[in-house]
């Protein structure tokens, strides 16, 4: 009675819809919570939702990288900094500038929605074998053959960032005097 492919497609669509809505709600939680620790927790749940979406769109290597690098390393760094500085709540006041910001953001959102729904994009036939798509092997083959310069530049960027952070952390600066 039920075609298996139809049931599979329906299940996949439902999961993508649910996880996508959850990702948007978690991102709203990031900017609406007043305590930074809750913001960090919402951001972790947003990262995990995005990793699930990456998996559903055939990017298993990048889903693993997302979990390890973002939800692991970067968010642990954020949590350490919050624990070090103390998570003070910030007072939310409503000013004129803030309503200007909301107007700007809603205009941007409306423009993006309009441009997203205006018409279909053209399908292009790629040449990656479907069983290899998104695996670490395919990413590595592509990265080390076609995109070698970007890879080397990224490694140089990471080195520069590491040296910069050591310089920032090692040399202590005298406190600034207020005028």
């Amino acid at each position: 009675m039920f075609d298996l492919a139809t049931v599979f497609e329906f299940t996949r669509d439902t999961v993508i819809f649910t996880v996508g809505i959850t990702a948007v709600l978690a991102s709203l939680g990031v900017i609406l919570c007043s305590s930074p620790i809750y913001c960090a927790l919402y951001l972790i749940s947003h990262m995990i939702c995005l990793a699930l979406l990456f998996l559903l769109y055939n990017a298993e290597f990048l889903a693993a990288v997302q979990i390890i690098v973002y939800a692991g390393a970067v968010m642990i760094l954020f949590l350490f900094i919050i624990a070090l500085l103390g998570g003070q709540k910030e007072a939310q006041e409503h000013t004129f500038e803030r309503s200007i910001a909301f107007t700007f953001i809603f205009t941007l959102l409306g423009e993006l929605y309009l441009s997203a729904t205006v018409g279909p994009t053209k399908q292009v036939e790629g040449k990656i074998a479907p069983e290899l798509f998104g695996t670490a092997k395919a990413i590595g083959l592509e990265l080390y053959s076609k995109h070698l310069v970007a890879f080397e530049l990224a490694s140089a960027l990471l080195l520069v960032a590491a040296v910069g952070v050591i310089c920032l952390a090692k040399f202590s600066f005298a406190p600034l005097k207020r005028r």
Partner: protein
């Protein structure tokens, strides 16, 4: 799920991130909003690399993740240095560079 849904999700998350960057005053949460924006673009690149059956989008997303990691590390170090000298975290009060 069609391409419009991906575009709508990505646009929503990007706008939420931009809104958070504008309205929040804690520099940590501003950095989290920048992460939101970068992540929404990553999601769009990966979804379209799946739609178009080409791996270039995934490579681009990988490079963006590298840049974001470097940016977060340097930014948090700067926030820490400012906090060591000023003992407060409000971007409206950090005006020593103001002309």
């Amino acid at each position: 799920m069609g391409q419009e849904f991906v575009l709508l999700i990505s646009a929503s998350v990007f706008c939420v991130g931009a809104c958070g960057f504008i309205i929040r005053k804690n520099p940590l949460i501003m950095f989290m909003s920048v992460e939101l924006m970068l992540n929404s673009v990553n999601f769009l690149l990966i979804a379209y690399s799946s739609f178009l059956n080409s791996l270039d989008g995934q490579i681009f997303a990988l490079i963006i993740m590298t840049v974001a990691a470097a940016e977060v590390v340097v930014g948090l170090a700067i926030i820490l240095t400012i906090f060591r000298t000023r003992h407060e975290m409000d971007v409206d009060h950090i005006n020593a560079l103001k002309g």
